[in-house]
């Protein structure tokens, strides 16, 4: 890989991260994907303000840190935000598997490093093939850095009796580390799965960078419920992507929630590959302080009779910035498409910012599509109403903020996730508004 690095200015983020890749030792069967990823990553123009996909999200935070590969020793950690759910659980700390915090193994879930020949072939067939790098530059970095990961493989006509819960814990190390979590989900025809991905950090100030990539293949008639929750501490840098291929009559139901951080960018790429597929995605973004949080979603309707329903709501507080870009691309052959996209943002301070852009590109003539975006502030009449009943100004603001996203929380089907987030977010709003508890 060294010849790839040499052509880049040594100080560049691209070169620096490729050096990390070079320092890794990995099984030979992954090397072609790594090499292809490294080539793409090296050749890509580094995004700046003129790059449409990165227009509002500067990557400066990556430039100032010399990242190392996460050390193999097991760092101690304590993360209070981890969800308590009866599940097949895999816990990774800075990308390193923590067997003691994980549940006993399950045949449907295997780490790449433990994969047998058959599983290796399955991984090789799908890994890097669901994900496309066209709109997701950091997928190529993930390919270049792929060393281990998790494969969830559900056989045809099978449903797992428990959800799969994958927890990534970030802990600060002396030298900032880059962690590149990789998840591959293969649902065969008519398979069903409930999947919870959770990113948390321990309580210390973070200095790491997580570049996560999840690829999901939903075969014919397969059904996936997918929760992806980012609750890392605010100095964390996170660039993540979820790529989903939906084949005939497959159904994807996604929920994503993120708090902000110094840099957080999450991409969803959903591809309707065959007729009758449907996708529903709900999202909540909650940046505050001086955080930045960017959601980009892109749905490709490549086949007829597919459905998309997307709802994103965000609350931007303090000096935080949020970006939402929701694109739905309906190809000429995708007749009878039903697609709707709705984005609402609440700004709770005069300094908070949102750049929102729903984008519909329609090349078929027999489709039903709707999209909309609104930006609002807390309703003064509602604040007066609550205060006129004895609630403090702070309590009223916190209650109204929570109410703004509560509808999406209540729609979460998995009770453990719903209750965990309900409690966590009520705490978050109370904490963000000091005095609520002690001086109501």
């Amino acid at each position: 890989m060294s010849e790839l690095i040499n052509e880049l200015p040594p100080a560049s983020v691209q070169a620096q991260l490729l050096q990390v890749a070079e320092a890794q030792s990995v099984p030979a069967w992954m090397s072609s994907l790594r090499l292809a990823g490294a080539r793409e990553w090296r050749a890509a123009a580094w995004p700046d303000r003129r790059t449409e996909l990165w227009k509002y999200t500067p990557l400066a935070a990556l430039r100032n840190r010399q990242f190392q590969h996460a050390s193999l020793s097991q760092p101690a950690w304590s993360a209070t935000q981890a969800l308590n759910v009866d599940a097949i659980r895999l816990v990774f700390v800075n990308g390193v598997f923590d067997a003691s915090a994980s549940s006993p193994g399950h045949a449907a879930v295997v780490r790449f490093s433990d994969a047998d020949a058959q599983q290796q072939a399955l991984i090789a067939r799908h890994l890097g093939h669901v994900a496309t790098t066209t709109r997701h530059l950091f997928a190529s970095l993930s390919n270049a850095l792929v060393a281990d990961g998790v494969l969830v493989h559900v056989a045809p006509d099978t449903a797992l009796d428990k959800p799969v819960h994958i927890v990534h814990v970030a802990v600060p190390q002396a030298e900032p580390v880059v962690v590149s979590p990789r998840l591959l989900v293969v649902l065969e025809a008519q398979a069903e799965l409930e999947l919870i991905e959770q990113f948390v950090s321990d309580t210390q100030e973070q200095n790491g960078f997580v570049n996560s990539l999840t690829e999901i293949h939903c075969g014919a008639g397969a059904q996936l419920r997918h929760y992806r929750i980012n609750l890392e501490q605010e100095h964390m840098l996170h660039v993540g992507g979820v790529h989903v291929d939906l084949w005939r009559d497959a159904h994807y139901r996604g929920f994503t929630l993120a708090e902000g951080s110094a840099l957080k960018r999450i991409d969803y790429q959903i591809n309707h590959q065959a007729a009758g597929a449907s996708a529903a995605l709900d999202g909540i973004y909650l940046p505050r302080n001086r955080q930045l949080l960017d959601y980009h979603t892109n749905v490709e309707h490549k086949a007829p009779h597919c459905t998309t329903s997307e709802t994103f709501r965000g609350i931007v507080a303090d000096d935080a910035r949020a970006v939402f870009n929701g694109r739905i691309h309906i190809h000429p052959q995708a007749q009878k498409t039903l697609a709707e996209l709705n984005n609402r943002t609440l700004l709770t301070s005069d300094r908070a910012q949102i750049d929102t852009k729903p984008e519909l590109e329609i090349y078929a003539d027999d489709v039903k599509c709707a999209h909309g975006a609104t930006v609002s502030q807390l309703d003064p009449t509602a604040q007066f109403y609550l205060r006129s009943r004895g609630l403090s100004a702070i309590q009223a603001r916190s209650m109204l903020s929570f109410g703004f996203i509560n509808e999406l929380l209540q729609a979460i089907e998995q009770p453990a996730v719903r209750e965990h987030l309900h409690a966590h977010l009520q705490g978050l709003f109370a904490e963000a508004l000091p005095g609520t508890v002690t001086n109501p």
């Binding site: 609550l386 006129s388 403090s392 209650m399 109204l400 509808e407």
Partner: protein
């Protein structure tokens, strides 16, 4: 218990109340009537502390304390309750959570402990029954998708739970059919205990058939043009408001 002296107030640059004075003793029910634009709703909103209602003169003493110096929530905790003419819909905030927070705030202020969820539920269910509101409304968003009558009954339910010492009903009868009106009136009457006072703002006499006032005041051009007993309301109903002007009041 409430002493309003020469109160003047302005909304969006227009003088609405002009040196209004009114004195209310414990246990009394005062009806405020008057033509549209006379300042009836303004009075209630000024007393509750609504933003945008600027007091330009006068004073208001509530149990001897300077009401106008208090924050909105302090007034509520001290025992002022305004039943809104247009109760606000707040989707996503459960009615139950809201009611408990309100009751807890008032109880803490009075030096009483917060109620347990269990005790509060019992209290809330009981109050809902008394205003003929299905229990399901307690779990819904605050006023979310409620009909006009349901919203008004929800106001009375809040009033029952908060047990204020001064209740201001701002056109609570508007938009109510006769059944809902009776439910609301019965709720109010049940709260008359000889100590609690009421200001009933209404455009029509009809409500006063059910909530019988001790005093009736006619508001015109921002001050009280005439005061009398409950018979004054009947006279107004018969003659309309124009005779006030004819008499040059």
């Amino acid at each position: 218990m409430l002493e309003i002296r020469n109160l003047s107030a302005r909304v969006e640059g227009n003088d609405i109340l002009r040196q209004l004075s009114l004195s209310i003793r414990p246990g009394e029910v005062h009806a405020i009537m008057g033509p549209n634009g006379a300042g009836k709703s303004t009075l209630g909103n000024v007393l509750a502390g609504r933003p945008g209602y600027e007091v330009t003169g006068g004073e208001v003493l509530f149990h001897g304390k300077d009401l106008l110096a208090m924050e909105i929530e302090e007034r509520a905790r001290e025992g002022v309750f305004l039943a809104f003419q247009y109760p606000v819909e707040i989707p996503g905030v459960s009615n139950m959570e809201f009611l408990k927070a309100a009751v807890d705030a008032r109880r803490r202020h009075l030096g009483l402990g917060e109620l347990s969820s269990f005790d509060f539920m019992k209290l809330a269910r009981d109050a809902a029954k008394r205003v003929n509101l299905d229990q399901a409304f307690l779990k819904r968003g605050v006023n979310e998708g409620f009909s006009g009558g349901e919203k008004k009954r929800n106001e009375i339910l809040q009033m029952m739970l908060l047990e204020p010492s001064l209740c201001i009903l701002d056109e609570t009868d508007s938009g109510l059919d006769i059944d809902a009106l009776q439910v609301v009136a019965a709720g109010v009457n049940a709260m008359r205990d000889g100590q609690r006072s009421f200001i009933v703002v209404t455009h029509y006499q009809r409500l006063l058939d059910y909530i019988v006032p001790d005093h009736v005041h006619v508001l015109a051009a921002g001050r009280i043009a005439r005061s009398g007993s409950k018979e004054l309301a009947l006279e107004l109903e018969a003659k309309g408001y124009s005779w006030l002007e004819d008499e040059g009041v």
